[in-house]
Symmetry: C2
Subunit: 206 residues, 2 copies
DNA sequence: AAATTAAATGTACACTTGTACACAGTTAAC
DNA sequence: GTTAACTGTGTACAAGTGTACATTTAATTT
């Protein structure tokens, strides 16, 4: 890459990190201004436009960051043991670790899924859908629920993703309260187990 | 009530409705200004302060509105038939009707749960917790899951609430697409059934 | 009927916001 | 080596923001 493009990529990621940091510091992405982001990134406000048309376009790039983060999460979770109870325990631990190590991205995700612009909402929805499809893939390969067809597996995977995403808001808020956070993780674990039990029993209503 | 207090209550609810309408028109509550709200309510900006200290305080009052809306939802859902499959179907239909008839409140709820100020997040969390406790109450009275103790019932009720709340974001977005909305409702229904099946099978891990 | 109280108005001010535009400094292309 | 292209700077401005404060209007109290 040429020197110029390298430098550009550098300030570009400075902008992305600036936005994420402002979000993590308690700001709502929807309320963050171009000027704040530029200031945090150490550039002049108008330079922002060399990289993004507006904050919405930057937001869509944050979703890309989220995307690779989720892929990484799936990859980590796959290095695990066989037993189903262990599987849930281990996956949730990995999930929790990712929440902590990529706080900003998950705060952005939970905010954006319901409070972002329509395009950001859709982008996040799409990423969570891809995430669910990855889980379906694992279910199929491991024969987790032999009685379910792929549409039914997707339904269960969506439920898992929904439960994880919902818990993320709580867990991110409980970061400074280890006791309550452990309780919330235990709740999440029990709920996932309920879902697994239900999926194993699932049959269409008569 | 005296005329003066009546009028005050009137403009107060005008402010509340103005905020809700702005939210429903696609705005994010976090980005709405005092001036916008006052304009929408048909009063001068500074009159806002006669009723609320700031938008956050108004938001907490929106949570109160949400609270009574959820209570009403529970009450409606209780007038229903016995069979468990019917119960899920009927409850989800009622839920959907409430989403449509109180759109603004549920948009506010989904936005606020993850994107609101800390105090608003907590207030909404609290309302959803109360909602889950109501469900626990129903589970107990109807002996839905005789093998579960009350803590376990609460865990299941939280999962139901989480699933409903998560689906709300999707359903609110699909209001103008009946086909996809019906699909999403069917997904929600299947997921609730998975949860019920799992809860019936639930036992602590060995 | 007069005095008091309180809600809503109108004005004002210091900020912040997005963004247009001219410019400077560097890298890339020729 | 000169020219062209592009990233980042600096200035500028109209529009929107929260909110203090004095004023008007109308209901309540006396």
């Amino acid at each position: 890459m040429s020197i110029r493009k390298e430098k550009k990529a550098l300030t570009r990621s400075a902008l992305i990190n600036a936005a994420l940091q402002l979000v993590e510091e308690g700001g709502n992405f929807a309320t963050i201004s171009i000027r704040e982001i530029a200031k945090q990134a150490g550039i002049v406000p108008t330079a922002f436009y060399r990289h993004f048309k507006d904050t919405n376009e930057l937001g869509l790039n944050l979703v890309d960051e989220l995307s690779s983060c989720l892929r990484q999460l799936i990859r980590s979770a796959r290095e695990q043991s066989e037993n189903s109870t262990q599987l849930i325990n281990h996956s949730i631990r990995i999930f929790d670790e990712h929440l902590s190590s990529h706080r900003e991205l998950f705060v952005f995700m939970t905010q954006g899924r319901s409070g972002g612009t329509p395009s950001i909402r859709n982008a996040i929805r799409n990423e969570l859908n891809v995430f669910a499809l990855e889980i379906v893939n694992d279910f199929s390969q491991q024969q987790s629920f032999p009685t379910l067809n792929s549409a039914q597996l997707k339904m269960v995977a969506d439920l898992i993703v929904s439960t994880l995403a919902y818990s993320a808001t709580d867990l991110l808020d409980l970061n400074d309260n280890p006791v309550l956070k452990t309780e919330r993780l235990a709740l999440l674990e029990a709920q996932c187990r309920v879902i697994f039990l239900g999926a194993a029993e699932w049959k269409a209503p008569q």
